[in-house]
Each structure stands twice: as structure tokens, then as C-alpha cells.
């Protein structure tokens, strides 16, 4: 259940063994280059020529396609259609739908925006598919990210499945007391109190217990902390990161000076 909540898929691939920070840098590089790298098709090409091969390389192409078709394509597609219809300022009319005129220029601009969004979400999907969130957060914390920040993120991912399980138990307990959860919609609204009440009370108690438990283990201690899991950071990782940084700088520089 826990793993269903994060996108992460465990596979045995060279990408999976990269340091999480390297993958984060790669993700950001893809986004920066795809967006500022000039060229109308850059973002689209980045998806086809970088992200798609990377997911194949990670043995996660199928999972990526699933995310792309179920989540990214509908979102980006919806934006593309809406903007094509509603952004004003086009000159060359392509065709009309009722009172709306669709122009070539707006379609082009909409495609550019939609393809960039597609790229951004794809890049993060790649990161989340190949990197376990807690590994990423541990690595970032070691690099100086405040632990409170990573705690909030990680605990959210952990709490949700726990709350789902708890909600299920509460529903069972109240149904055992004759609560009819299969009645009409209006009746069901009245049922919320007996279901949500225990969930909220219980969660508040748990938050307090959690806070005490982590404080008992020195969460706010200012001493330098060690980490239970060693996350490898190889020379290769460093080389890749510097290379990516160079690419980002080149892309930004060319944007500033060449345009």
C-alpha cells in the first residue's frame, strides 16, 4: 500500500543506482534546457529524445507511458485545447467553432506551452519513478536541507496509507453499530460525523505521539547527525552533475546572449 502511494518502482538499472541528487539535477537540467533552449520543438524533442530513452534505460518505459497517458496527456491536452480557443491575439484564422475563432498563432503558442508542461511533468515523473522519496529526502537533508522540511514530506507519504486503513476500521466499527453506509446520498452526508470524528480525534492524538517519539530521538538536536542508510555518491555522479550544470549554464547563456 505504501509503495502504491509513491510513484517509485524498484528496478535493477544504472539509473536507479545513481545518487538521488544527480537525478534531481538531471531533472532540472532537462526542464531548463527544454524551456530556455530556444527552438519551437525543443521541449517536445527533450521528451522524445531524452526522457523516453531514459525511462527505457531505467526499465520503466511502460510505467512512464501509463503516467503519460493517464495523467500528463489529459492535463496538457486540456490546456492546449482551452488556450487554443481562448487566447486572443491571433491573425490567421484556421477555422471557427461557433463564436470562437481558432487562429494559427494561438494554436502554435498553446502547443509550446502544453509541450513545456508535458516536459516538466514528465521530467518529474522520471525522477519519482526512479527515486524513492525517502532516499531523495535523506540525501538532500545530508546536503543541508532542513530536516523539518523532509520530515513533513515523508511523514505525509507515510500517514496517508495509515489514515486509509484507520478510516476503513472506523467504517467497519460504525457499520457494526447499525450505521447504514449504503443509503441515499443525502442520508450519507449525515453519516460523516460518526466516520470523520474518530478519524480526526485519532489523528490528532497520533500527531502528538509522533512528535514526542521523534523528539525523544533527538529530532531538534543541533549536533551533527549520522544516517542509517548510506546513499552512494560516486565520482561518476559528480562528473554527471558538473556536466549537467555546464549544460544548464550554456543553455541559459545562449538564451541571454544569442536572442
Amino acid at each position: 500500500m505504501n509503495d502504491r502511494l509513491s510513484f517509485y518502482r524498484k528496478k535493477n538499472s544504472p539509473i536507479h543506482t545513481l545518487n538521488p541528487f544527480t537525478k534531481l539535477t538531471l531533472t532540472l537540467a532537462l526542464i531548463v534546457i527544454g524551456i530556455v533552449g530556444g527552438g519551437y520543438w525543443t521541449a517536445s524533442l527533450a521528451v522524445c529524445l531524452a526522457i523516453a530513452p531514459l525511462t527505457i534505460f531505467s526499465k520503466l518505459f511502460g510505467d512512464y507511458l501509463r503516467v503519460a497517458f493517464r495523467l500528463i496527456l489529459p492535463t496538457a491536452g486540456f490546456m492546449f485545447v482551452m488556450q487554443s480557443i481562448f487566447i486572443p491575439g491571433g491573425v490567421t484564422e484556421l477555422f471557427r467553432i461557433g463564436p470562437f475563432s481558432i487562429e494559427v498563432e494561438t494554436v502554435q503558442r498553446s502547443y509550446l506551452i502544453a509541450s513545456r508542461i508535458f516536459l516538466m511533468v514528465s521530467a518529474f515523473a522520471f525522477l519519482l519513478l526512479t527515486t524513492h522519496p525517502s532516499e531523495l529526502m535523506t540525501d538532500l537533508t545530508r546536503r543541508g536541507l532542513p530536516p523539518q522540511f523532509s520530515y513533513v514530506l515523508i511523514s505525509t507519504l507515510q500517514i496517508i496509507p495509515q489514515m486509509q486503513a484507520k478510516a476503513q476500521t472506523i467504517i467497519s466499527a460504525q457499520r457494526s453499530r447499525g450505521l447504514d453506509t449504503e443509503s441515499s446520498f443525502m442520508k450519507r452526508i449525515g453519516l460523516l460525523v460518526p466516520l470523520v470524528g474518530p478519524l480526526v480525534f485519532g489523528s490528532l492524538v497520533e500527531v502528538e505521539e509522533r512528535a514526542i517519539a521523534i523528539e525523544a530521538r533527538g529530532f531538534t538536536s543541533t549536533r551533527v547527525k549520522t544516517f542509517l542508510h548510506d546513499i552512494p555518491d560516486t565520482h561518476m555522479d559528480k562528473i554527471i552533475r558538473w556536466a549537467l550544470l555546464a549544460l544548464i549554464i550554456v543553455a541559459l547563456a545562449s538564451k541571454i546572449w544569442l536572442s
Binding site: 472506523i170 453499530r177 447499525g178 470524528g197 474518530p198
Partner: protein
């Protein structure tokens, strides 16, 4: 109300086979304790009695009702189920309305609800706490509120899932009193427990489960005497039973009275 379980099998959606063919008859008014290691299928079994789980194969009948043909809300008229953690069910602003929730759901009229609530509160020694918010009570008293909120439904069958976990001696005695009172009223009581002394002192019939099957089922003395078989499901017989055995008593003893009687020979 007779409970009839025949060749009940149940697998969870993830494929774990939790019950592997259980056949069982519990007669009206019996007091049954179910014991066995964690994961033996005790809770899975009792969740079939009020329809929270449906058999993968086999059947469960409560009286003439087949649990597959009636909703949980309807089965609640016949089977009351006290969950392990009272905090999973308490939501009202005071004990009185909390305890009235079940009988109201079952459709009792105003006077009946009042009478049932009053009786349940008296039985659980909560009469002086009617106006208290359940979350202002200690966990032991919250447990009693949970008990009262099921007893007030006046079902013929009452199930307790580990009622004594985390309870002090005074409250365990209160819970034992409640079970005794229910027996006197002719109710069927089924209790899941890891508390072997509580089991030995309050139940006439004991069922030991392991790996989704019934290992032993019979009179408490007969079941609790089977030290070797119970060990396979990580249950130790009560201390007095083991001591009696080492003293060479012919009969299996399970409480102080029986122990003393055997000792005096």
C-alpha cells in the same frame, strides 16, 4: 440465536488465505473464547459473523439468516461487535448520546432507546458519567463506553475483540462482570483474547485457532489442558493449570477454586 458456520474459507484480496475451512456451531447462550497466535485468523473469523467479511466459499448463518444475503447494518440487529480500539468508534460529545447511537440506528423508539441506554450504562458502571465527553475519560473508561455502546443494541450475540488488552485489574473485573450479566440474560458471547487467565476464568468453551484452522474446540478444561497442542499456536495454559499438572492432579484445573479443590483431594 444459533450460529452455524460450514466449511468457511476466506482469502484476502492480496491472496493471503486467512481461513482454511472452518466448520463450527455455537448454540444460543454459549460463552466462547477464541485463542491463538497473531495471524491465526481469529478476527477474520468473527468479522464473518456480522457480515463485515463475506466468505470466499462456505457459508455463515446467524439464526436462519445467511450473512451473504443481509447487510452489515441489518446483521447488527443480531450481532454486536465491540472493536479492539474504542477510539475507532467514539465520536459523540457525551457518553449518553454515544451509547444511544446503536439502538437509534436499529430503529428502537425513544422510550426503548432510553431504557436500553440506562441499562447498558448501569451494567458498565458508567451511570454517573452520562454527560461526560468520552475523550475526557481515561482509556479504560473509554473501553467501557465502547462496551456499553454495543450492549445497548440488545443483540442476541455479542462479540468482544480483545477486551482486556491494556486494561487494569479493576477494569478487567468490570468486563468479566459484564460478560457474566450477559450470560445470565441468555446472550451468546464470543471473545477473542490473548489473556489466558481471563479466558480460563470466564469461559466454558474455548476454541484454539492456528493458521486459519480450528486446532482445538471444547470445554475450557479439556482445551487448556492440551499443553503441547496449544504450544504450536504460541498459547501457554494458565499458570494454575500448568502447576496442577506438575503437581500430578488427575483433572485439569483452570481457576483457584478448582485448584484448591484438587489440592484438598
Amino acid at each position: 440465536m444459533k450460529i452455524e458456520i460450514s466449511n468457511l474459507q476466506f482469502s484476502y484480496p492480496d491472496g493471503v488465505q486467512a481461513l482454511r475451512g472452518i466448520s463450527l456451531i455455537i448454540e444460543t447462550g454459549e460463552q466462547v473464547a477464541i485463542i491463538g497466535q497473531n495471524g491465526a485468523g481469529k478476527t477474520t473469523l468473527v468479522k464473518h459473523l456480522n457480515g463485515l467479511l463475506q466468505p470466499t466459499s462456505g457459508s455463515v448463518h446467524i439464526g436462519e439468516w445467511d450473512t451473504r444475503k443481509h447487510s452489515v447494518a441489518k446483521l447488527a440487529r443480531r450481532v454486536g461487535y465491540v472493536f479492539q480500539n474504542p477510539d475507532d468508534q467514539l465520536f459523540s460529545k457525551n457518553v449518553g448520546t454515544e451509547v444511544a447511537f446503536g439502538p437509534k440506528n436499529l430503529g428502537f423508539n425513544g422510550d426503548q432507546v432510553q431504557a436500553l441506554v440506562k441499562d447498558a450504562l448501569a451494567l458498565t458502571e458508567l451511570s454517573d458519567k452520562t454527560e461526560t465527553n468520552p475523550y475526557d475519560l481515561s482509556p479504560t473508561w473509554r473501553k467501557m463506553v465502547a462496551l456499553a455502546s454495543i450492549i445497548s443494541m440488545d443483540t442476541d450475540i455479542v462479540i468482544f475483540d480483545e477486551p482486556t488488552t491494556g486494561q487494569d485489574a479493576a477494569n478487567i473485573a468490570r468486563i468479566a462482570n459484564v460478560i457474566k450479566a450477559l450470560r445470565e440474560r441468555g446472550k451468546t458471547v464470543i471473545t477473542i483474547t490473548h489473556d489466558i487467565d481471563f479466558c480460563a476464568e470466564n469461559f466454558e468453551r474455548v476454541i484454539a485457532m492456528a493458521q486459519g484452522q480450528i486446532l482445538l474446540d471444547g470445554r475450557a478444561n479439556d482445551v487448556l489442558g492440551q499443553e503441547e497442542i496449544l504450544a504450536t499456536t504460541y498459547v501457554d495454559p494458565p499458570q494454575l493449570t500448568r502447576l496442577g499438572k506438575r503437581l500430578g492432579f488427575k483433572e485439569t484445573v483452570r481457576n483457584e477454586e478448582e485448584f484448591l479443590a484438587a489440592l484438598r483431594g
